[in-house]
């Protein structure tokens, strides 16, 4: 990481830490979802199923964290008068974007931690220690299209549009990708069709990391295309952005 990138990452972390309640909500939202959607049910002797549920909720947390922090957060930052000043500093686009990525990953990990702890303590979910690093990596890689998607929204739209667009994108993505209900109970055409969603590819990769079956070629291909396409969109939106516009 270049020193400019590090300075931007440090700046973003400091800004987050100064609003403790925001950090708290990032850290606890996925855990709370777990408390309501997984803990009350009797999983009996099905540790595989409950492990998957816990992992899917962790991914759900990463997805919501990335989309909202970057979509709404970046749009909001662009409207502050500090942003045009930052754009006159000699920082290349890559330094600002990579700084944001690093901080996003850091806070995503922060949100995962309570989920993993709760899942381990209060559910029969288990992950072989050897698979844990792979699982965490799959969660972060799985979050990439949402990170880029969030940034693309943030750099293209004003806050008032970024918020509804993020919300509109969020639910179909989470549901269609099988994060709330497993795709196994979808009608088979729907289960097949949702393989083109990046959430589905992310989920299937994650379950594979946990020792499940390998994802289909379609799901992996679609995931790669989404990630690359959205990354290109971020670059384009950033170059094109001139801050707030008035007509």
């Amino acid at each position: 990481m270049s020193s400019i990138t590090a300075a931007h990452a440090r700046y973003l972390v400091l800004e987050q830490l100064r609003i403790p309640v925001a950090v708290l909500s990032t850290a606890l939202f996925p855990a709370l979802t777990l408390v309501f959607f997984v803990l009350p049910f009797d999983w009996g002797s099905d540790p595989v199923q409950v492990t998957r549920s816990v992992a899917q909720l962790a991914l759900f947390g990463v997805l919501s964290g990335f989309l909202f922090t970057f979509g709404v957060g970046v749009a909001d930052d662009r409207e502050k008068p500090w942003d045009p000043y930052l754009r006159t500093l000699p920082a290349p686009a890559s330094a600002r974007v990579v700084g944001r990525l690093a901080v996003g990953a850091l806070f995503a990990l922060l949100g995962m931690l309570p989920v993993i702890v709760l899942g381990a303590l209060f559910t029969p979910a288990t992950v072989a220690p050897a698979r844990l690093p792979l699982t965490v990596a799959a969660l972060l890689v799985g979050g990439l299209p949402f990170l880029f998607g969030g940034l693309a929204i943030g750099y293209s739209l004003p806050t008032k549009a970024a918020l509804p667009v993020t919300q509109l994108a969020f639910f179909p993505m989470a549901f269609g990708g099988g994060l709330l209900l497993p795709p196994e109970i979808f009608p088979s055409w729907l289960a097949r069709a949702t393989e083109v969603l990046p959430t589905r590819g992310a989920r299937d990769l994650l379950l594979w990391a946990l020792g499940g079956s390998a994802p289909s070629g379609l799901a992996v291909g679609a995931f790669v295309v989404w990630t690359a396409g959205l990354a290109l969109l971020v670059g384009w939106a950033y170059r094109r952005d001139e801050g707030r516009r008035f007509r």
């Binding site: 020193s3 400019i4 590090a6 700046y11 400091l14 100064r18 045009p84 000699p90 920082a91």
Partner: protein, 291 residues
Amino acid sequence: MSAPVQLRGVTRRYGDTVALDDVDLDLEAGSLTGLLGPNGAGKSTLVNLVSGLRRPDHGTVRLFGGDPRDAANRVALGTTPQQTGLPDTLRVGEIVRFVGAHFPDPVPAGELLERFGLSGLWRRQAGGLSGGQKRRLALALAFAGRPRLVLLDEPTTGLDVEGRRALWDAVRAFHQDGGTVLLTTHYLDEIETLAERVVVLAGGRIRADGDVDAVRGAVRAGRVSFRTTVAVPDLPGVEHAGRDGDRVVLHTTDPDALVRALVRHDVPFTDLGVARASLEDAFLTLTGGTR
């Protein structure tokens, strides 16, 4: 070495509004230029083009010979954030270090804060500073990277007298060390005090360009003012007349002839004042009286 700033045939529109219309402008290294113009004249657009925030629709903008939209070409540029734009939750020291990290050889943070009268505020959050302190911090940031060109957009708005003096001193010192300055302001006395060259912008075009005396001379006008209780007759050579109660101000190309005419017409006046055109008069004439 190429001029710090070079604009060639630059046009920029926002929808149907033409903010800059085919503007050519060069700033030589080491020059101190004041940019004057009424609101909406295109001053901010010009500054934003030079700092790489916006792109021209036509023409080219060069900053030290390169495209200002490439980060590497902005390494010798210093600008100020708006006073209201500082990140409230960050501490003064954190902001200065963050900005300094962008430059190869930043001014040590302590030295920079001292130069702008901010020592001792290192650990204060920006949101807790007074208006004047925020303004001074914003200005200090322009000098954090040892720039060769500084763009100051309305730098003294919201500063007290002491703060203005401190800024003027900082700008003069920077200029004496060979730095190039482009300054926009609403305060004409600031331009008269600081700038060597004045560029007057109105309606997106450059209306006048030269040293302060030349711009003032572009309007060879004088101003005759006096008090009277009677109606002033039509006098020769009056270009513009203004009246506020018993106070009358007449603008003319020939003040001497006008005073003789006043006496000849037996106008009962007191408190007579004759002044050559101020920069403000020149400005009003050049920009069509809209300020």
